[in-house]
Every structure is written in C-alpha cells, then in structure tokens.
C-alpha cells in the first residue's frame, strides 16, 4: 500500500520580489508615451468633422486660436491680427516645415479666420490644419 501520509509543502506567500520590476516596466511605458498638453486656451469649443487626419509630429506644430469673441492667441499668448504674419514668419525661419493648427471656436466669424489665413499666406506658413473634434 502506498504511503499517502506525506503532504507536499506549498508556499503560501505570493512572490513579491518581481513586483517592482513589473511596476517599473509599466512606469517606463507610461513615461515614454505620455504627452503633456502644451497650450490650452479656455472657452474654445472646436467644431466637429468626419474627414479628419491626425497630426503626428508635434514639434512642427504651432497653435493659433481664434475665440468666439474675436480674440487671437498664438500658442497661448494674446496677439493682434497684424502681428500674426511676423510671428509666423519667424517660426517658419526656425522650422520650415511648420504646420499651423488653427483652433477656432465654432462660433468665430469666418471673416476673421479668413484674414488670419491671409496673414499666414504672407508669412509663407502654408501648411494649415483646421482643428476639429471627431464627429459622433
């Protein structure tokens, strides 16, 4: 008759020595993928569209905001309409592939947006992206 009296010894503790490794691995993943929001102008609600494309290269992007109360911000600083062309000309000199992300409020008048576009044309900043949210 076989001997059943011996019990296999099972360790009851959960091994925690590798926990730190797992945590640091996740930490590195989040550190690498984290993108901080650089500029934010409050009170701007973007319009919605379907046929949109994503901008990948953040270094090349300059932000231009037009609020519903007809104010223009470049990055997050208030600017006058006639300053737009000079500011973007300087940026174009620094980064020739500059893409201007136009973040205009959906209530902003088109006339002002059009004049801003004219200023961009003068500054030779011709790559423009009309920022929108995804519809639906």
């Amino acid at each position: 008759m076989p001997d059943f009296s011996r019990k296999a010894s099972v360790s009851e503790s959960i091994p925690t020595s590798s926990m730190a490794d797992i945590a640091f691995l996740l930490l590195i993943f989040f550190m690498v993928t984290t993108v901080f929001v650089r500029y934010r102008v409050t009170g701007i609600v973007l319009p919605k569209a379907e046929k949109i494309e994503e901008l990948k290269k953040r270094r090349m992007i300059s932000y231009l905001w037009v609020s519903a109360d007809r104010r223009i911000y470049i990055d997050d600083k208030l600017a006058e309409l006639n300053q737009v062309s000079r500011i973007f000309y300087d940026r174009r000199v620094q980064e020739p592939r500059t893409i201007v992300s136009m973040k205009c409020d959906f209530r902003a008048p088109y006339g002002l947006v059009s004049r801003v576009l004219e200023q961009l044309r003068e500054a030779d900043a011709l790559r423009v992206n009309f920022a929108t949210d995804k519809k639906g």
């Binding site: 730190a20 930490l27 993928t33 569209a49 494309e53 947006v113 004219e118």
Partner: protein
C-alpha cells in the same frame, strides 16, 4: 575591559517598498497622460500673391451665407446633407473641377467647417478658399 561590540549592519538594500514607489509614479503618469492628438482637416494654402487663370467650366463656386445656407454656382441652393452627392456628381463629370469655397464675413466657422468636411468627403482635392468681400 569593556570592548564594545560592533553593531552588525545589514548590507541589503530594502526593496520591499520599491514596488510602492513605482506604483505611485505609475498612478501619477496614468492621471496626467492625455491621449488626445491634434487632429483636423489639413489644407495647403497657395503662396501669397499667386493667382492662376482657370477656365470657367472647371470652377464650381460654393457660397455659404450667415445662416449656413449653401448656394452652388449662384443658382442652386443645396442642403448640407445633399452637398456631398452633388459634388460627387460634378466631380464624376469633370475630374479637373476646382471647388471654390466662399463664405461671408459673419458666417460661423462651424458652417464653413461643415461644408469643407463635406467637400473632403466627396473627394474634392482641389479646394480654393476665397476671402469674403469686406
């Protein structure tokens, strides 16, 4: 003689709290991470002062007024829902078609984007943005 006993020091680095520190940092990055990418409708503007002569038959003028109504070639008023099909038809007839989009001074940006989006969805590559009269 009283010889002091040396205290034994523990040469190990305590690693039990390492996981806690790492998880704390993970939580920080999880909270601050934003996955929102910049997205929108891309356009290439023409250089300043450039004007090309285009044959009239290759141009399709689209007007958007203050209340968002759309007028094609100053004759047919088209609702936004039918604009895509209308432009697709025109593009099928003439592949060289250039769509000129003109909005008035007080047209809300939202109406302009809606029309531009429909034009892009219809497959119009050549879109010209005309500035409103002042």
């Amino acid at each position: 003689m009283d010889v002091k006993r040396r205290q034994k020091s523990n040469p190990e680095i305590p690693t039990s709290s390492m996981a806690d520190i790492a998880f704390l940092l993970i939580v920080f990055f999880l909270v601050t991470t934003t996955m929102n990418q910049d997205k929108g409708i891309g356009m290439q503007l023409p250089p300043a002062g450039e004007s090309k002569k285009i044959q009239k038959k290759n141009i399709c003028n689209i007007w958007v007024n203050e209340s968002g109504q759309i007028l094609i070639n100053l004759e047919d008023e088209v609702p936004l829902s039918q604009l895509r099909a209308n432009i697709q038809q025109r593009l099928a007839v003439n592949t060289k078609l250039i769509v000129s989009l003109k909005a008035s001074e007080e047209t809300p940006y939202d109406s302009f984007i809606n029309v531009l989006d429909e034009l892009k969805l219809a497959g119009a590559d050549k879109i010209s943005l005309a500035s409103p009269e002042q």
